[in-house]
């Protein structure tokens, strides 16, 4: 194992040297990898947009194992990168360890939760976005049964599931929501074979719309849904194009905007809590030419009305993470 550690350190060293000359910010991708067509890829897109617009540069690393988290944070902080932007809830603990040692560096956690003066926590109201796509799922379903497939079973993913179930029930109180998680370890984010089997299992239980919030596993879910001629819903990035005409919509989580803004602020970025909700366009549903035929004007009108009501506070979507329970779904 010693060799493996040395090897990783070398790799990390190379990654750092590559862009050290002008870089002033760093981006740490989670285990899914920066091309997961979903969460991490959104961050990558945001960073690339910033790079093209400003001509700036940034350091980056794709984590390969749990052991690299703290190491990567320290290396970037030592190299003078500021801010250090991290993806995924699993960075919370390493940031809590590292942040006090580098008070002049601002750490950004997207999806994580750390209370420290030099940490900026960026959260999204995934339950609100999921509520909207849940409404669309219920309206598109003919069997009155819809499915949810999560990646790793963590509170954040349950928040997606819970919001979705509430949206479904808001349209059709009698609808059935089948919910499955792919696994309890990080491999659950990259197991399309399991995603595919879960989708088949849900289809055999009657589901005709399936919402995947599962990173790379979702690729298998969307594929199987398209093969079996049912509708699917993508997540994080706009995934409508993956199977044109067979993906109902995608729950957009504007990670790209969050990363773009953080990079734009650069060293002036301060710690604190930032919530990107429906009103801030932090979450939403995707419409483009690939799903135009699937979403009727009536459906869109209803969803937009609900969106307005959520923003104005008339509808309150329960957040699973606020009390670890869900009124519309049992896990």
């Amino acid at each position: 194992m010693k060799h493996a550690a040395t090897f990783r350190a070398l790799l990390l060293g190379t990654a750092l040297c590559a862009g050290q000359a002008h870089a002033d910010a760093a981006l740490i991708f989670d285990l899914g990898g920066k091309f997961d067509k979903s969460f991490n890829e959104a961050a990558h897109n945001g960073a690339q947009r910033w790079k093209e617009e400003t001509g700036g540069d940034y350091l980056e690393i794709e984590l390969q194992s749990e052991a690299q988290r703290e190491q990567a944070l320290r290396r970037f902080a030592e190299a003078g990168a500021n801010p250090v932007i991290t993806m995924g809830f699993a960075m919370s603990t390493p940031i809590k360890e590292v942040a006090p040692d580098y008070p002049d560096t601002t750490f950004v956690t997207i999806d994580g939760w750390v209370e420290a003066p030099n940490v900026r926590v960026i959260g999204f109201t995934e339950h609100e976005g999921s509520y909207l796509v849940g409404m669309m799922a219920a309206m598109a379903s003919k069997s009155n049964t819809v499915g949810f497939i999560g990646g790793m079973d963590i509170p954040l993913i349950r928040r997606f599931a819970c919001g979705y179930a509430q949206g479904v029930k808001a349209v059709n109180p009698d609808a059935t929501v089948i919910s499955n998680m792919t696994g309890v370890t990080p491999t659950a984010w990259n197991d399309p074979v399991k995603g595919s089997e879960l989708t088949k299992a849900q289809i055999s239980q009657g589901a005709d719309v399936v919402y995947a919030a599962a990173g790379g596993t979702g690729v298998g879910v969307l594929q199987t849904a398209a093969d079996e001629n049912i509708l699917s819903i993508g997540v994080d990035s706009n995934q409508n194009h993956l199977h044109s005409g067979q993906v109902l919509t995608s729950m957009m989580k504007r990670v790209d905007v969050a990363v773009y803004d953080a990079l734009k602020s650069g060293e002036t970025l301060e710690g604190g809590y930032q919530l990107l909700d429906l009103a801030a366009e932090g979450v939403g549903y995707a419409m483009d030419e690939h799903n135009a035929d699937l979403v009727s004007a009536d459906m869109q009108a209803q969803v937009d009305a609900a969106k307005a009501s959520i923003i104005s506070g008339e509808i309150s979507v329960h957040d699973y993470m606020s009390d670890d329970s869900c009124p519309a779904l049992t896990f």
């Binding site: 091309f35 890829e41 197991d191 399991k194 299992a201 055999s204 594929q223």
Partner: protein, 321 residues
């Protein structure tokens, strides 16, 4: 649980067991000949990637299959060179192959397709389609047997039937042919085989290459039949579960098939039910997922019989001067 649900769960279990059977039998040949192989995972991953990439570029899944198996064979050969010819540590060679495959597949996929370490989705002839067996449609209305035939036995891809054909074939090769006898002997006592004037090196290489072909088929099945393309790390530890199955089956073919089916079934049950009520006790899904490993540890601890590997497994053979 009604009858149809049971059939569906079993059906899913068969699909999930198929890559395990390929990998487990690959390990069976290799380890019976005295070459420990923990690189099953890496070989499957390589085959999964190459088959998907080539099938996409040529539009033919059969050419993809050949490419996938060839990729897996290359790694098997590498393992052979390291652990037979150069008498290196077999475990380390296996680990190296896993690392190599995990890295190089993503690197090549990114270089060829620029889709972030995955291949584009396969369509049409670039994928293995399910085969409907003769009379499956006509017979499906017969009570009990009809659905079993139509849902469970018919409707899999060609590779599933190949996997199940490999089981009796392997039993016959290993226990009823001269080659099989020598192969097993070389895993137990290579010196004796050598004294009889038979090449240990050649036998071990043949075993390692058969292992490469079978791993290749397992990887091809995942990328082109179960899925429509390659995604990084898509084997998700199945090579290791197959090794666990091999130990659980005590290196015997029929038991290996039964174990793979059991592990596949455990997975499919875990996928279908998030928690299972059994006489008032709720079994969490996590337990179902960990069960293959727990069972293997129990076997290894000697609680249900003893798992004795082939005597010479893991030992490189050095000819006496």
């Amino acid at each position: 649980m009604d009858f149809l649900t049971l059939i569906q769960v079993l059906d899913s279990g068969v699909r999930l067991a198929t890559p395990l059977i390929f990998a487990c039998f690959a390990g069976l040949y290799s380890e019976r000949a005295g070459v420990v192989d923990i690189g099953l995972e890496g070989k499957m991953l390589m085959a999964a990637f190459l088959s998907a990439a080539v099938a996409f570029m040529t539009g033919s899944v059969l050419i993809g299959l050949l490419a996938g198996v060839a990729g897996s064979l290359m790694l098997a050969l590498l393992h052979g060179v390291a652990s037979i010819t150069f008498r290196g540590n077999q475990l380390i060679a296996g680990v190296a192959i896993n690392f190599l495959a995990a890295g190089i597949t993503v690197l090549m996929a990114q270089a060829w397709f620029q889709q972030g370490g995955r291949t584009p989705a396969l369509v049409g002839d670039a994928r293995f389609e399910p085969i409907t067996l003769p009379l499956a449609e006509t017979l499906q209305d017969i009570p009990f047997l009809g659905p079993i035939y139509h849902e469970l036995i018919s409707g899999h891809s060609l590779l599933v039937y190949i996997a199940f054909a490999i089981v009796p074939l392997s039993w016959w090769v290993l226990f009823r042919t001269r080659f099989g006898l020598r192969l097993r002997a070389v895993g137990e006592n290579p010196a004796a085989v050598d004294t009889a004037g038979i090449s240990v090196i050649r036998l071990r290489y043949s075993a390692v290459l058969i292992c490469g072909i079978l791993c290749g088929l397992g990887g091809v099945y995942m990328a082109t039949a179960l899925q429509a393309g390659f995604v990084k790390d898509m084997t998700a530890g199945r090579g290791f579960i197959a090794l666990a199955a091999l130990i659980f089956a005590k290196w015997r073919p029929w038991q290996a098939m039964a174990t793979c089916l059991l592990f596949g079934l455990l997975q499919s049950v875990a996928l279908r039910y998030q928690s299972i009520e059994l006489g008032g006790i709720t079994i969490p899904v996590q337990l179902m997922e960990a069960l293959p490993y727990i069972l293997t540890i129990i076997i290894l601890a000697g609680l249900i019989g003893r798992a004795v590997p082939p005597l010479a497994s893991g030992e490189p053979y050095t000819k006496e001067n």
